[in-house]
Amino acid sequence: MPTSVRRFVAGAAGLSAVALLAGCAKNAPQDTWQPKGPNAQKIDDLQKPVFAIAGIVGLIVFAAVAYAVFRFKDRGQPIPEQTHGKPVLEIGMTILPALLLAGIGVFTFRTIFDLAKTDDTEMVINVTGQQWWWEYDYPVQTDYGITNPIITSGQLVIPTGTKVLLRETSRDVIHSYWIPALNGKRDAVPGRVHYLRLEADKPGIYAGQCTEFCGLSHAVMRMEAVALDKADFAAWVKGQLELADSPAEGTLAKEGESVFLNQCVRCHQVNGLKKADGSPAIAAPEENVWSGAAPNLTHLMTRNTFAGASWDLLTKECRKDVWEAPGGEFGKKYLAGVTEECLNQTDLRRWLRNAPAMKPMYADPTKLGPTDGKYRGMPNLGLSEDDIDKLVAYLATLK
């Protein structure tokens, strides 16, 4: 009967489609079925059989329904006997799935505890969520050459083959840190420290996205985990520990520095930046931003993204070049940072012109009653095009 066939097709569509078509979409950056690290692999090893079992069970049910629908359609047969059930069958049908689930349960149990282990940690990184970007700081770990804390944002950089433990917390609302290729997600809850294991097999950039609804710009709160092989990582650490140099006198960048000192340093720290009187310029975001911090820009141009990993600092071609670089070359390309010609000037300028227009934020000064006048996000600074030119020139020097 065409009816029943169609019903079968429609009914089975869901799960079979899942099974068949999940693989059709290649290289979705956040694909949950393409693990790139041992932790994600563990999950994958567990979930694929579960999906398979679920699919099979589903097909059996659909087949049974379809058969019943086809076979027992009213064709004038007498009224069936008024039976009230077959306890044996029903008890059997209770025990069978119970056994099946018990089997799944055992493996689940093991995986849960495997993924919660912390005693094999080789490196820790503090991850702090804030509306709507991530801050990473690397506690002093001399084994990796981290003699002073490193602070960065947007892109988490880790050495390959190293068991990294993220210590997550949040400064405002609950966020969730998720790099699907490396592990499942874990919420960053204010007042608590949650940990998440992360380990990448190969160098590369792994995309992620905040997955706990965190307010207005939740949709654009993204993050990337960058895996570098150990040597490259050491180089990266070395670079990060350096202080920013002041641009040469007379350059556009130098003028940009003073714009930065006038405007940006209220919130954004650049390590090594000095005020006109020679004293260090220290940002005070806690006085201007409700959540208390703003991204540290000392090495902005070593990151490929800005504004909470929402936009690329690289032009499309350059980005593609880095992202799709083969494992061996990736480290070098990444460490090159954002060069003059690769800088995505369009988005950066748009951002400097009016940040809240690009990324919705609570930055309207007239509506900041509940936060005592503090912003949540970056306000529109009302910079002139001249100032923007200067600033871009300055920012380009922050490598």
């Binding site: 912390t118 700081d137 208390g292």
Partner: protein, 373 residues
């Protein structure tokens, strides 16, 4: 035509009139007495008129509606409550306003209840209906009020008891009272047909016990610990140096956040301060924490004696030219105890000349540096 009663009152009226005249004529300057006599005359005259008007209240033989035939009114609590209200008001006039107000409340409540009871009983001759009518009118007011008052009495009494006795005794008492309540409940449950008098008796014992305990507790006053803590403003202050307070929060480790993965554990072992960061096995003397974020660490004292962990985290200009050091600390804890310290540092390490650090007051050379990037 004149009934006997009216004759009596008319006579008294007349007598009063005569006396009034005599009095005014004969007694010098007796205005008060004259007024009194005139008042009596008027009042009795009025009564005379009334007696005359209703024929002395005599009723015809066979008048079933005669007042003499009226069914006695049911018993009532409200006269007593009203009285208590009036007396409390009177006492309140010379003691506390609150007593007066309570009295006024009781008076109003008693009066309202009385009036409604009276009204409802004459609503019809059907007692069940009358009861229902009264219930509908007054229960929506009565039940919440009684429940509130009852709960209030129990709460206040119990709180007075608990404030008066020591913490340990309090726990024991709670256990005992809980057990008794449970036992009572079981008793009632097992014997649902319990005699009313037994049930009332048990309830009375309980109520009297609680209230008497409450009164006793209130008269004893709060336990020393609370009084002292209050005097020392113990709940607000934190003495980051030597402990001056006798009482402090012994149970601080029971805080919720204690269970939510603190950033580090700092132990004071045999005179040495050492830190272990979350997720790392190695001991360290330097921990890195996020700026502008609530950070929690656990402090464990594993050295004989009472110690506290103190955090120095910079300086703050409290007024023009006056700079104050910022400190945060745990309570003094004994050896073997642990406590949580939650802090937030708003300025990065580079903003401070002296490094941020944890230390134990009174112990030199031992500190854990706190780095804020």
């Amino acid at each position: 035509m004149f009934t006997n009663g009216s004759k009596y009152f008319i006579g008294v009226t007349g007598f009063s009139a005569v006396v009034l005249v005599i009095y005014v004529v004969l007694v010098d300057g007796a205005v008060g007495g004259a007024v009194a006599l005139a008042s009596i005359m008027l009042a009795v005259g009025l009564l005379a008129g009334l007696a005359l008007f209703n024929r002395d209240g005599d009723v015809e033989v066979g008048d079933a509606a005669a007042p003499a035939n009226a069914v006695p009114v049911g018993s009532s609590l409200w006269p007593l409550v009203t009285t208590l209200g009036i007396v409390a008001m009177g006492v309140g006039l010379i003691t506390h306003e609150i007593v007066f107000l309570l009295g006024l409340t009781a008076l109003v409540a008693g009066f309202v209840e009385w009036v409604i009871q009276g009204w409802s009983e004459s609503a019809s001759s059907d007692r069940r209906f009358n009861n229902a009518a009264r219930g509908r009118l007054i229960h929506p007011l009565e039940f919440p009020v009684i429940a509130t008052v009852g709960a209030g009495v129990i709460v206040v009494s119990f709180s007075r008891i608990m404030l008066a006795i020591s913490k340990t005794t309090g726990a024991v008492l709670f256990t005992i009272v809980g057990a008794l309540v449970l036992a009572g409940g079981v008793f009632f449950a097992v014997r649902p047909n319990l005699k009313k008098s037994v049930a009332v008796g048990l309830c009375v014992i309980g109520a009297v016990g609680v209230v008497a305990g409450g009164i006793a507790g209130a008269s004893v006053g709060k336990r020393d610990q609370l009084v002292e803590a209050n005097e020392e403003d113990h709940f607000a202050h934190k003495e980051c140096g030597e402990e001056k307070s006798k009482y402090f929060d012994f149970n601080s480790e029971a805080k919720v956040s204690m269970r939510s993965n603190p950033m580090a554990t700092i132990e004071f072992v045999d005179g040495k301060l050492q830190a272990r960061e979350l997720g790392l096995k190695k001991l360290t003397d330097r921990i890195t924490v996020q700026k502008s974020n609530n950070i929690s660490v656990i402090f464990r004292n594993k050295t004989e004696g009472e110690y506290r962990l103190t955090l120095f985290y910079g300086e703050k200009e409290v007024q023009e030219g006056v700079v104050e050091e910022l400190h945060n600390c745990t309570q003094m804890i004994e050896s073997g105890e642990e406590q949580l310290l939650t802090f937030r540092i708003d300025r990065p390490s580079i903003a401070s000349e002296k490094p941020y650090k944890f230390y134990v007051p009174g112990v030199e050379d031992q500190s854990i540096e706190v780095v804020v990037p």
